[in-house]
């Protein structure tokens, strides 16, 4: 009797496990498939990309990846008659994206971490008001300020410059950096820093020797989120750049082939573009997860 029951229970357990795995696999396919399709398309010729039914088996080509960097082509713009260079020399755009992302995040992180630490530890007069003010800058949809910023940048000479984009992204990212880092600092017991103060360290040493090492996980998470924000930004990059400073998302949107849209080429650029993000997310996934679930369990290490 008991044996039979055990058997039944065991079978039910196996069934449960199978179902869970099945559901997980479906979910993973659901999220992975677009990325797979993107990479697959990047390895197809134009004809293969458009074939019906879609091709699942084909002879892959790396032509698109070579074209991104090497092919020079021009097209006469229909309305303005301007000569445009298309879908080529992508290295410039990758370089732009990289420079802008790196610089703006470096600045936002440094300023953000220092500000967050001051707010958390020294609580200057009006901390709450200031923190709210900082947050409120994120409450408007970015597009609301797009036109003013465009004119503003035009007249200041920041239009079509790296520094212009860097400043803008820094501004957009700072609130996020300050808020996120402040909550990480808030979680670190103050006693430890006070112990260091009594122990003979000055406040600056306390900051970088005691406080900062304790929020490294939070710092990783913050930087991760900032990178995702900037790397994918499209709207302002479109508005405020021309060819010399254009970032990859804008370039992708502007890429066309000789006849119609060359999806293979676009997919190749996109594949290259998401690669750093994928690697980064993989490396930082522990931190990012921590950032997302942060504060849900008090005192969890």
């Amino acid at each position: 009797m008991a044996n039979l029951q055990n058997n039944r229970r065991g079978r039910r357990k196996i069934l449960r496990t199978v179902l869970i795995y099945f559901a997980t696999i479906i979910a993973v396919i659901f999220f992975i498939f677009p990325i797979y399709w993107l990479i697959a398309t990047s390895l197809k010729t134009r004809a293969q990309a458009f074939s019906t039914p879609p091709l699942f088996v084909w002879e892959p080509t790396v032509r698109n990846f070579i074209d991104i960097f090497l092919k020079r082509q021009t097209e006469i713009e229909a309305i303005t008659g301007q000569e445009l260079e298309l879908a080529t020399g992508a290295e410039t755009f990758f370089y732009n994206s990289f420079i802008v992302t790196f610089s703006s995040i470096a600045i936002a992180t440094v300023i953000g971490v220092l500000a967050a630490y001051s707010f958390s530890r020294y609580q200057p007069h009006g901390t709450n008001t200031l923190m709210f003010f900082i947050l409120s800058t994120r409450m408007l949809p970015a597009i609301v300020v797009a036109i003013p910023i465009y004119f503003f940048y035009r007249s200041l000479g920041l239009y079509n410059t790296h520094i212009g984009l860097v400043l803008l992204y820094t501004m957009f990212n700072l609130p996020f950096a300050v808020w996120m880092m402040k909550s990480f600092f808030d979680e670190v017991p103050r006693d430890i820093e006070q112990a260091a103060l009594v122990d003979g360290s000055n406040p600056i040493k306390v900051f970088y020797k005691i406080a900062l090492p304790q929020v490294l996980v939070g710092l990783g998470a913050t930087i991760g989120f900032l990178i995702i924000n900037v790397w994918n930004e499209f709207l302002f990059a479109l508005l405020l750049t021309e060819r010399a400073t254009r970032t990859v998302p804008v370039m992708i949107a502007g890429t066309r082939g000789e006849v119609g849209i060359n999806w293979g080429l676009i997919a190749a650029i996109e594949t290259l573009y998401i690669l750093p993000a994928l690697v980064l997310i993989f490396v930082l996934q522990r931190f990012l997860l921590r950032g997302m679930t942060f504060g849900t369990v008090r005192g969890a290490k």
Partner: protein, 362 residues
């Protein structure tokens, strides 16, 4: 070689007076315990001495020099925190060495001193571990090591033993005291545990609501508590205190309403001199209440309300009308709840407090 003096020091947090006009003198090499219930201002007082808080008013002096504006790092103090506040990302070695490192002590010297300190505290085998891998007692030792390695002029300790289990706490209590005697460093120690205070202190300052109630040696505090609060706070079980009225013309007879107490004329004299009026409070410690199963000359009758036997001693709570009196008895007394018992108060050990001011009269 440091003496610490507080002169009329107050610290307000908004409307709250955390520390209220405190005068305190801690002599060189003395072990001073700040004792009081939570929220009495003892930790704030300690933090004021450490420089982690700035006083609202008053002066803090080290060796006669005002240090109000001196940063914590320049006060040559070492502090042990209640939760130890070890640096979680550093190994024990670096936890101990940080102060020496920031002061630019040469490496060999640092290694030597860390080694000596670790030896002294028996934590030499832990130097390569991080605080998270240590037990509570080990963390406590590291915290202590971090304090003593720098040879500070004053030790400040904020309930350093309260996170340890009872057995370890009792052991560390003794070790800490011995260590202090050996180093002869002025020590200010905060605790709410009156046993800790009694055992370790050279002198105790009892605090309540931000004010110092009494400063004195453990014996003074125990035998001549300045007021009802100190009397009840120090000693376990706490002192019996009940209301009484002076009735006789010679002032030698008090009545509680349930029973009378005859006091010597010298005591009566003091009550008269104090000008307290006939309403007083009488306090007596459990060990000064004799209890017996049989009637003896001068004993009063009571009912046993509660018996707490702790092995070597037994605490018997007696009920007389509305009054409960705890008496200390040998476990062999053999009383049970509901029994009739007889008790007598050791009159020369009575404490009499003014009912209005709660101050000790005699």
């Amino acid at each position: 070689m440091t003496e610490v003096r507080l002169e009329k020091v107050s610290k307000y947090f908004g409307e709250t007076k955390a520390v209220d006009n405190v005068d305190l003198q801690v002599n060189d090499g003395e072990f001073m315990v700040l004792l009081g219930p939570s929220g009495c201002g003892k930790t704030t007082t300690l933090r004021l001495i450490a420089g982690l808080e700035k006083p609202t008013s008053g002066l803090i002096l080290f060796n006669g020099e005002v240090v109000n504006e001196l940063e914590p790092k320049d006060r040559r103090i070492a502090m042990v925190f209640q939760d130890y506040a070890l640096y979680p990302h550093m190994k024990v070695f670096d936890n101990l060495a940080l102060n020496l490192q920031v002061r630019g002590v040469p490496r060999d010297e640092i290694r030597k001193r860390v080694s000596e300190t670790a030896e002294l505290l028996g934590i030499k085998h832990l130097l390569d571990r991080k605080p998270g891998q240590l037990s509570g007692g080990e963390q406590q030792r590291v915290a202590l090591g971090r304090a003593i390695i720098r040879e500070p002029s004053v030790f400040l300790m904020d309930e350093p033993l309260s996170n340890l289990d009872a057995a370890l706490r009792a052991r560390m209590r003794g070790e800490l005291k011995k260590l202090q005697e050996r180093l002869k460093t002025t020590t200010i120690y905060v605790t709410h545990d009156q046993v800790e205070a009694m055992v370790m202190a050279d002198r105790i300052a009892v605090m309540r609501n931000g004010k110092v109630q009494q400063i004195g040696s453990p014996q003074e505090i125990y035998n001549r508590p300045a007021n009802k609060f100190v009397a009840e706070f120090v000693g376990s079980p706490k002192m019996n205190v009940f209301d009484a009225t002076v009735v006789s013309r010679e002032h030698t007879k008090l009545t509680t309403g349930e029973f009378d107490i005859n006091i010597p004329s010298s005591m009566a004299q003091r009550i008269v001199e104090s000008g307290s009026g006939p309403e007083v409070m009488v306090g007596i410690r459990p060990e000064n209440v004799a209890v017996s199963t049989a009637y003896q000359e001068g004993f009063l009758e009571a009912t046993v309300y509660l018996v707490e036997d702790i092995g070597n001693l037994s605490f018997v709570t007696l009920q007389v009308g509305d009054i409960l009196i705890v008496a200390q008895a040998p476990p062999s007394v053999g009383l049970r709840v509901g029994d009739k018992a007889y008790f007598s108060l050791l009159v020369e050990k009575l404490h009499i407090f003014d009912k209005k001011t709660e101050k000790l009269i005699v």
